[in-house]
Each structure stands twice: as structure tokens, then as C-alpha cells.
């Protein structure tokens, strides 16, 4: 199978130069995106086949490090992530066939798009440290090019710059980690690394490096700073890929190192991972609540969901460390399922945001509103996405979070005390983030799609094109299917967990009524299908009964609004006013949020103002000082550019004397 996958990647890579040539022609985007769609579907198939067929195949090409060659391999894990990547890729390509028509600078997007897809697939495929890092950084590089595609806006350039710096930082961390694993004589092949059982301390160091390296790409707080800048800057279908898919590739990197290469974990690793996950989840959603830029809000939610995934992974590590294979399988499955689910609904939501951006030219929710009338279909699918990401039954987001909760409920059996105290707290954080996510998406959907249009742009919006809608509806359907029939997907994950923790969750499909039962029915069970049926049935019964037996008449009238209806749409609740209570509750501590209201003196004509100021403490105390340090050092050293020749000679002279002294003493 691996060789077919490589063929696919080859085609994608070949598309890049073709795109450079074609870029000028108007039909270029159709051709390129169409081709990408086909290839992505093929690759997705390859993934499915090798995942369900439980086949693992490998290829070695005479590329990369000369004495090593480039190793590529599809095992269960790689296959699963190939599916995730290419499913998202296919949807994005389909969406882009329509969306790409409106691109002003196709020549800056088309060549890099297939390269980007290829890079992500290669990461999942590569089986030695060198090709892994090459693909990893290639992925970052091509996405950087896409982020700076619209380079005339300064902030896009800035976003790209920060992104590239963080990406390279992460790559260097991973590079160091692999350096440790490979040893001084460089056994970079993953098989060799697996074979060499590193000492506990060394493995721990590698795990920390992996957490930093992969985390900086996945958006683990506090390494997330680039993410909400870069994801919105790119064209929407690329944002969808970056948020929905690339962060998952980062998760893949972490799983590959933490669960596969390092062998049996130490229990304290899970403490790091769990803490990181919990903090990331809550911080991510709190940041998101403070945003009123639709795409940035979505980007911050990616941070939150990554946190949830890492909680699953951390529990998996903990259970694995203590040899509780069943529980480990459950936790890992929860994490992986959330990987899949999030890739779907996050892509869906970004497509929706893209459609809105296309028809209104607005990303700022404060300028939107009432879109549900102008673009009903988009509104519908976006609503589905919102429900799914808010972890509400019967859609898919709920299933994976439910599984995570079940895993948490198993953890009292963990012997180590650190975990006994940490896990409940993490559980609370998880619950908190779930509730806040719901709040945040009420805001996101309510403010931008409901209510009355706040600007002419919103008032004159139009429904988006067929291809984009097709992509969105496809994903929405997936959300529902994965929500009501989770058993299928859980069973599909069995090979992965078998490979990584040597155990898998009990076989789900075939239970009566397609229920899912993590451990035993007496413990817990959930049936999305029945819940879905019940809700729809009882809802329609009520509707039917009332319409039949009582009145079904309906009059339109002005809004009541306690008798003070205000015609002007500015009196509606805005995004920031909607978030105000939550900002008061959480923001005062987390963001040092302050509200400054200025009331003009009585009789003065000046308008009353209420300004809110938020501080991103992580930026202020984490990143700004580093930037300041580099700048300061540069300034201080820069003096050396302006010395007189004599002073330069003095430097040489000093160096000489110093070294002579060294020798004189050394003898």
C-alpha cells in the first residue's frame, strides 16, 4: 500500500510546478483543486484499506540521508492519520473548487496548496527521523507560503513571521529529541530507535522535547501564540486545513514518539501531558470567547480541542504506564476519535466562515448578523458544526468527550498520588471548557447568523456556490453519522490501539441497538442513534399534535421587546456585549480585563463610551520579553559594526594574547 500512497504524494508534488505554469489561466484553480480532490480521495482510500485490512507495508527510497535512505511505512497509526489528513484535504479541495474562483492572487496559492497536502501526508508516512523532519518542516514551509499569500496586509506578514519562527522552534526541539534517540552515530531509522531502549531519564527528556516540538505546532498553551494569527490569515480552505488537519498531524508526531518510539512510558510523563491538556483546553476557549473575529475565534477553539485531545492522550499514557491496557485503549480511542471528529467539524466551520467572508467580505462578527435569511444553507451547516463542536448530543463531538469522561472515571484505580489529585482537576477543567465552548458557539452563531444585519454588507449577502455547499453538507452529514453510529468508528480504531497499547476497546458494532459500551454495560453506555430518534420523534409528535389539535395559525408582527422595540440594528447585542458576563467572571483574572466607561458631563454632547481592554498575559510575559531580549542584544552587538580599524585590530590582538596565555598556562 505504501508505494501507492507515495505515488499519490508524487502526483501532488508534481502538481505544484504545473500550478506555477498554469496559474495565469482562469481555469487553473478548477484543474488543480480537482486533481487534488481526486488524489486526496485515493489516498484516503489507501488509508482506509490499510487500516481495516490491518496491513502494514513499507517502502525505502534512495533519497534523503545517503547511507540511510528514506523510509516510508503505513501502519495502523499512519493509516488513520492519512485518512484524517486526506479526508480534510478532499473536502477542502472540493470547497476550494468554488471558493478558489474568488481568489485575487491564485498564483500565490495554487502552487503551494498541493505541496502542503503532500507534506502533511508525508509526515504520516515517513519512517525515519530525517524524512519525518523534512516532511514536517516542508509542511510548515508550504503553509507559511499560503499564510503570506495575501502579503500586502502587514499583519499577514507578521503572522507568517511568527508562525515560521514557532514552527522552526518546534522543529529544532524535535530535531534535538531525535538526536538523543538516534545517538552519536546516528541510527535515524524508526526501527533502530525502537530497538534501542533508551534509559528512563533520556526517554523523559525526549518526551518533554516532543511535547514542546509537537505542541508548538499543535498549539499547546503557551506555545499557541502563532496559531490564532496564522490560521485566519490564510485563505479559508487553507485555514480549514491548518486548523482541522495540520494540528492533527502535530498530534500524530506526539503519539508516534510518546506511544510508539519511546516504548513503555513513565507515569510522570502523563502528569505533564494532562496538565498541558487541561490548561490548553480552558485557556483556548476563554481566548475564543474574547474574540469577535470569526476565523480567529475558530482558531482559538482549535487550541481548546487540542487540549481535549491531549487530555485523552495523557490518560492513555498514565494507564499504559501502570499497565492498565483496557483503560489505556479507552483513553487513546477517545483522543483519536476526537482527532477525527474535530478535523471534520473544524473544517466545516472554517468553510462556513469562508463562505461568509466571500459573500460579505467581513470576518468581524460585529459587522455581520441576520445571515440566516440571506444564506440559509450555509447557516444550517454552520449550525450543525456549532452543535457538534459544543459537544452536544446527538452529534459526534459529544461522543469523543463522553469517552474521555469515561476514561477519567476509570482513573481512581491509578496508584500514583500525583495523578489521583491531578485527574479530577483535569476533569473539572474539561467540563468547564465544554460548557464554555457551548457558550462561545451560541455567541458565534447567534451574533453572525441570527438577529438583524449590522452592516449593508451583511444585509446584501448571498448564498455561496454549489461546490462549497456540497463540501459543507458532506462534512455535516459526517458529523451526524459519526454522532449516531460511533461504534463503527471506534471499531475502526481498534488496530491503532492494539498496536500502541496492546489492547483495544470491546467490539462495538453488533451490540443491540448499536449502543456503545466502553467497558461494561453496567458501568456506562450511550446510544446516539436512539437519542437522535427519540428527540426527532418526540419533537415531531409534539409539532404534529399541536398543529392538528390546536392552532397552527401564525401572524407576523413587530418585535415585542418589552414594548421598547428599537428599529436600529446597533441596539442588538454584539459579540463583545454577549461575552461581557463571562468576561466579568473569568476575564478579570485571566486577561486583566478592564472596562473603562466615560460618561460625558450632563449637557455635554459627547457620546458615552465603554472601552474594554484585555491583556494577553502569555504574550506580555512570555513572548514580548524574548523579542525584547533579541532586539536589545542586536542593538548592543551592533556597536561592533562601527568600530575603527584600530579597535578591530585590538580585538585581533586581544584574541592572540589570550590564546597565547592559554597555551602558556596549558603547558
Amino acid at each position: 500500500m505504501a508505494i501507492y500512497a507515495l505515488y499519490g504524494v508524487g502526483v501532488l508534488l508534481a502538481l505544484a510546478p504545473i500550478a506555477v505554469v498554469l496559474a495565469a489561466s482562469p481555469r487553473a484553480s478548477n484543474v488543480i483543486y480537482g486533481a487534488c480532490l481526486v488524489v486526496a480521495l485515493v489516498l484516503c482510500m489507501v488509508g482506509v484499506i490499510s487500516l481495516l485490512g490491518r496491513t502494514s507495508s513499507s517502502v525505502t527510497l534512495p533519497l534523503g540521508l545517503p547511507w540511510l535512505g528514506a523510509h516510508f511505512r503505513i501502519d495502523a497509526l499512519a493509516a488513520f492519520f492519512m485518512i484524517v489528513v486526506n479526508l480534510g484535504g478532499a473536502a477542502a479541495s472540493l470547497f476550494a473548487i468554488g471558493y478558489g474562483q474568488h481568489e485575487q492572487v491564485p498564483e500565490r496559492v495554487l502552487p503551494f496548496y498541493p505541496a502542503y497536502l503532500a507534506g502533511m501526508t508525508l509526515v504520516a508516512l515517513s519512517d525515519d527521523a530525517f524524512s519525518f523532519l523534512v516532511s514536517w518542516e516542508f509542511m510548515s514551509l508550504s503553509s507559511w507560503a499560503l499564510v503570506v499569500a495575501h502579503h500586502r496586509e502587514r499583519e499577514n506578514l507578521r503572522a507568517g513571521y511568527i508562525y515560521l519562527m514557532m514552527a522552526s522552534f518546534g522543529t529544532l526541539a524535535l530535531l534535538l529529541g531525535f538526536g538523543l534517540l538516534a545517538g552519536a552515530n546516528g541510527n535515524y531509522a524508526f526501527d533502530a530507535i525502537r530497538a534501542s531502549h533508551p534509559s528512563a531519564a533520556l526517554a523523559g527528556l525526549v518526551l518533554i522535547l516532543a511535547l514542546i516540538g509537537a505542541g508548538s505546532k499543535a498549539g499547546i498553551v503557551p506555545l499557541h501564540a502563532w496559531l490564532p494569527l496564522a490560521h485566519p490569515a490564510a485563505p479559508s480552505h487553507v485555514s480549514a486545513l491548518m486548523s482541522g488537519v495540520m494540528t492533527k498531524v502535530a498530534v500524530y508526531g506526539f503519539i508516534r514518539i510518546g506511544f510508539d518510539l519511546l516504548g513503555t512510558p513513565e507515569w510522570w510523563w502523563s502528569i505533564l501531558v494532562l496538565a498541558a491538556g487541561g490548561i490548553t483546553a480552558v485557556m483556548g476557549v476563554l481566548y475564543a470567547l474574547m474574540q469577535h473575529d470569526l476565523k480567529r475565534l475558530l482558531a482559538y477553539h482549535t487550541v481548546e480541542n487540542i487540549g481535549i485531545i491531549y487530555i485523552g492522550l495523557g490518560l492513555g499514557l498514565a494507564f499504559k504506564a501502570h499497565g492498565m491496557a483496557v483503560a489505556a485503549a479507552l483513553a487513546l480511542t477517545a483522543g483519536l476519535l476526537h482527532v477525527f471528529n474535530h478535523s471534520i467539524f473544524k473544517s466545516l466551520l472554517f468553510f462556513g466562515a469562508g463562505a461568509v467572508l466571500n459573500s460579505t467580505g467581513e470576518r468581524d462578527m460585529e459587522h455581520l448578523g441576520g445571515l440566516i435569511h440571506r444564506m440559509p444553507r450555509t447557516a444550517f451547516v454552520f449550525l450543525v458544526g456549532c452543535v457538534a463542536i459544543s459537544a452536544l448530543p446527538p452529534l459526534n463531538g459529544f461522543v469523543s468527550e463522553w469517552l474521555t469522561f469515561q476514561a477519567i472515571l476509570l482513573s481512581p484505580q491509578l496508584p500514583s498520588w500525583g495523578l489521583k489529585f491531578l485527574v479530577p482537576a483535569v476533569g473539572a477543567l474539561l467540563a468547564l471548557s465544554a460548557a464554555l465552548a457551548a457558550a462561545c458557539f451560541v455567541k458565534a452563531f447567534g451574533v453572525s447568523f441570527l438577529g438583524r444585519p449590522r452592516t449593508p454588507a451583511a444585509a446584501t449577502a448571498h448564498e455561496t456556490d454549489g461546490n462549497s455547499l456540497a463540501a459543507m453538507f458532506f462534512l455535516a452529514a459526517l458529523c451526524l453519522v459519526a454522532g449516531v453510529l460511533p461504534g463503527i468508528f471506534i471499531d475502526a480504531l481498534a488496530p491503532v490501539t492494539d498496536a500502541l497499547v496492546g489492547m483495544s476497546m470491546p467490539h462495538q458494532t453488533g451490540l443491540d441497538w448499536l449502543t456503545i459500551v466502553p467497558i461494561a454495560e453496567s458501568r456506562s453506555s450511550y446510544n446516539g442513534l436512539l437519542v437522535f430518534i427519540f428527540v426527532t420523534v418526540s419533537g415531531s409528535i409534539a409539532a404534529l399534535a399541536i398543529h392538528r389539535l390546536a392552532s397552527d395559525k401564525l401572524r407576523r408582527g413587530p418585535a415585542w421587546d418589552c414594548g421598547y422595540p428599537d428599529p436600529s440594528p446597533v441596539t442588538q447585542y454584539t459579540a463583545s456585549s454577549f461575552a461581557q458576563p463571562i468576561r466579568r467572571v473569568y476575564g478579570t483574572t485571566v486577561f486583566r480585563a478592564r472596562e473603562i466607561g466615560e460618561m460625558p458631563a450632563s449637557g455635554a454632547t459627547a457620546p458615552a463610551r465603554l472601552t474594554v481592554e484585555l491583556h494577553d498575559l502569555i504574550w506580555d510575559y512570555g513572548y514580548a520579553p524574548i523579542a525584547a531580549f533579541v532586539g536589545g542584544a542586536a542593538d548592543r552587538l551592533n556597536v561592533l559594526q562601527f568600530l575603527t580599524i584600530r579597535r578591530y585590530l585590538t580585538l585581533v590582538f586581544a584574541a592572540l594574547v589570550l590564546l597565547l596565555l592559554v597555551v602558556a598556562i596549558w603547558q
Binding site: 559594526q641 580599524i645 585590530l649 594574547v657 597565547l660 596565555l661 602558556a664
Partner: protein, 222 residues
């Protein structure tokens, strides 16, 4: 040849006096005088090279001695004289560190080179050893001079006395092939020409040879 023998003493005397002359250079702060001292420096060098040639009965070293004599002791100083006259800069040289500190530094350097060399070349023959030590100190003193003078001409002088130190070392190294001396001479020649060209260019551009005038135009300060 052993310590205490005449030949050794003479070599030692000459090499040592070369160091002494370097000190005089360091002390000197008028351009004319500096050039004269430099001529003396070259003269002593020539003498010591000649003596080496005699001691090692290596005739080709005489050639080196002559080169040193002609070029360094006569041609270059006179040429530099001319330049100075043309540029009209026979005023005082503003030194960076005072003469006293410069002297102290020089002492330190000599001590250092002694330590390094004498301990190093334990089993090399004593004459070469002494010579190397002196040569190194001459080199370091030349460098020190370049570092402590602002004026371009005096920097050049410092550079050339540094080269003298090299020649001393080369001749001290017994049986060293001719190629080196030639290269030294030729490099000094080139050096002199280039420097000459430069001084002229600089003369055209700015009316001083003060390196600081050049620094005003350093890159990035435009």
C-alpha cells in the same frame, strides 16, 4: 655552537637589540623620528640576518639581508618621508595610550613571548630558541604599535616592523627554504605598493591619513 660562544652572543645581541629598537619605536611619537627609527630597525634586522647567514653558512640568507637592507632600511622610509611631506602631516602623532602604559604593555608582551617560546622549544637548539622568542616579541610589539597609534602611516610602520619580526623568525629557523624569504620580501613589496596607492587615493579623497576620517564613512551610517 653553544651558549657563551661568540657567535651565539652576537646573534643574541642583534636579536635583542631588534626588540630594543621596537621599544624605541613604541616610545617615539613624531612621524619623522618614527621613520628613522624604523630604518634603524630594518638595519639591525639586516645585520642579524647577515650574521645568521654567516653562522649557518647559508649564502641565500645574504640575499634576504640585502633585501631587508635595501628595501626596508632605505627605500620604504624615504618613500614614506615623501608621502608625509606631500600630505603635510609631520605633526605629532596622537597616541591612544600614553607612552608609559604602552611601554608597560610591551614589557608584558615580551615576558609572555619569553614564557611561551622558551618553555616550548626545550630541545630545539638554543640559538633558534632565543631568536624565536625575540622574533615573537618583535611581532607582538609591532602589533601593539598598530593598535596604539591612530595615524595610518604609523600603523603601516608598525605593520612593517611586525614583518621584520617574521623575517627574524624565518632566518632563525635553520635551513628554512628560500621560498619564505622571497615571499616575505614580495609581500612587503606588494604591501608597500598597495599602501602607497591607498595613501594617494586617500589623499585625493580626504586631506588626512587619519583612519578616523575613513571611519566617518563606514557602511550603514549613510
Amino acid at each position: 655552537m653553544v651558549r657563551g660562544s661568540l657567535s651565539f652572543d652576537v646573534a643574541h645581541l642583534l636579536a635583542g637589540s631588534l626588540v630594543l629598537v621596537s621599544f624605541m619605536q613604541l616610545y617615539q611619537d613624531r612621524l619623522y623620528a618614527l621613520l628613522n627609527i624604523y630604518a634603524l630597525h630594518a638595519l639591525v634586522l639586516a645585520a642579524s640576518v647577515a650574521w645568521q647567514a654567516f653562522v649557518q653558512d647559508a649564502p641565500h640568507l645574504y640575499l634576504t639581508a640585502i633585501i631587508a637592507l635595501v628595501f626596508k632600511a632605505i627605500v620604504i622610509p624615504t618613500a614614506l618621508h615623501r608621502i608625509i611631506v606631500r600630505l603635510g602631516i609631520h605633526r605629532e602623532i596622537e597616541t591612544v595610550v600614553g607612552v608609559g602604559p604602552a611601554m608597560l604593555l610591551g614589557m608584558g608582551l615580551v615576558a609572555l613571548s619569553m614564557v611561551v617560546m622558551l618553555r616550548v622549544t626545550a630541545e630545539a637548539d638554543p640559538l633558534a630558541r632565543e631568536d624565536l622568542a625575540f622574533a615573537l616579541s618583535v611581532v607582538l610589539l609591532g602589533l601593539l604599535m598598530m593598535v596604539t597609534r591612530r595615524n595610518a602611516v604609523s600603523q603601516v610602520v608598525g605593520f612593517m616592523s611586525l614583518e621584520n619580526g617574521l623575517v627574524l623568525a624565518a632566518t632563525g629557523a635553520k635551513g628554512m627554504p628560500l621560498v619564505v624569504e622571497i615571499s616575505v620580501a614580495f609581500s612587503v613589496l606588494i604591501a608597500f605598493i598597495v599602501i602607497g596607492i591607498f595613501l594617494f587615493r586617500i589623499r585625493e579623497r580626504f586631506d588626512t591619513v587619519d583612519v578616523q576620517a575613513l571611519d566617518r564613512f563606514r557602511g550603514e551610517r549613510r
